[in-house]
Amino acid sequence: MRASRRSGRASSALLMYVIILVAFQVFLLTVTVEAFMADDEGLAWAAAAVSVVLAGASAVLFRYLRP
C-alpha cells in the first residue's frame, strides 16, 4: 500500500518535471524566433540544441512514467 502510494507520488513528480521541461521548451521557441528575426545563427542553433536535449529528457522521463 505504502509502496503503491510512493510510486504514485513518483509518477506525479515525473509528470511535473515533464511539464516544467515543456514550459522551458516554449521559452526556447521564443528565443529561437528572436534569434531568427535578429539573424543570430549562433543563438538559434544553441537554443535548438538545448531544445532537442530537453525533448530527449522529456522522452526519457516518459519511459519511467507508469501507466
Binding site: 539573424d39 535548438a48 530537453l54 501507466p67
Partner: protein
C-alpha cells in the same frame, strides 16, 4: 427508463455450460435518454467509449512529450532557416552629396528596398552613419533626438545610441540595423545593410 435487465441464470437453462452463471447478472442498459447534465445529442448518438472521461497521467504526458518533440523540431527548423536564408543586404548605391547634409542634420532615404525606411546622420565633417528607421522592438519609425543626441522611438520610448545604434534604454533588445556608408568623391554611398 433505468430498468435493469436480468440475465437468465444457469437454473433457468440447465446444461448450457457456464458455472459462473450461478447468480443472476444485471446489466445496465445503454443510455437511451440523456441523463441529467448530459447534452441532448447523446440521444441521437448514444455511443461512448469505456473511458472517454478519463485521461491518465501517462496519456497526458504523452501529449506533452509529443509537443516537446514538435517544438524541438520547430527550433531546429528555425535555426536551419536562419542559417540558410539570404537577407537582402542591398547593392552599393549613391545616396546624396556630402555637402547637402550639414553636421548634426539627418537625411531620409530608403535602403535596401524602397519599402525599407532608413536615416542618415552626419556626426562630424568626416563621420557619417546611417541606420534602418525600423525600431527593433515593434517596427515603429525612429527619429533623431538632437537634444539628447540619440535615436528615439516614440511608440514605447526606446532609445538608441546615435553613433552605433546600440540600445540605450527602453524595450528594444537589439541594436538598429546598420547601413555601411562610404564617401566617394564627396558623395555618400550606401554599401550594404547589416541587420
Amino acid at each position: 427508463m433505468s430498468a435493469k435487465r436480468t440475465v437468465p441464470s444457469e437454473a433457468d437453462h440447465p446444461g448450457t455450460g457456464s458455472s459462473q452463471a450461478a447468480e443472476p447478472l444485471t446489466v445496465e442498459p445503454q443510455a437511451a435518454e440523456p441523463q441529467a447534465g448530459e447534452p441532448l445529442w447523446k440521444r441521437d448518438f448514444p455511443y461512448e467509449s469505456l473511458a472517454e472521461d478519463e485521461v491518465t497521467r501517462r496519456e497526458f504526458a504523452r501529449f506533452l512529450v509529443a509537443g516537446a518533440g514538435v517544438m524541438a523540431a520547430g527550433n531546429v527548423g528555425l535555426a536551419a532557416w536562419t542559417q540558410l536564408r539570404r537577407i537582402n543586404t542591398g547593392e552599393p548605391r549613391a545616396l546624396v552629396p556630402l555637402d547637402e547634409v550639414a553636421v548634426g542634420e539627418t537625411y531620409l532615404f530608403a535602403y535596401p528596398e524602397d519599402a525599407d525606411p532608413a536615416i542618415l546622420l552626419r556626426l562630424s565633417d568626416t563621420e557619417v552613419v546611417a541606420f534602418s528607421q525600423k525600431c527593433t522592438h515593434l517596427g515603429c519609425v525612429v527619429y533623431f533626438d538632437a537634444d539628447e543626441s540619440r535615436w528615439h522611438c516614440p511608440c514605447h520610448e526606446g532609445n538608441f545610441d546615435a553613433a552605433t545604434g546600440a540600445v540605450i534604454s527602453g524595450p528594444p533588445s537589439r541594436a538598429l540595423g546598420r547601413i555601411d556608408l562610404e564617401v566617394r568623391d564627396q558623395v555618400i554611398w550606401a554599401l550594404g545593410y547589416q541587420p
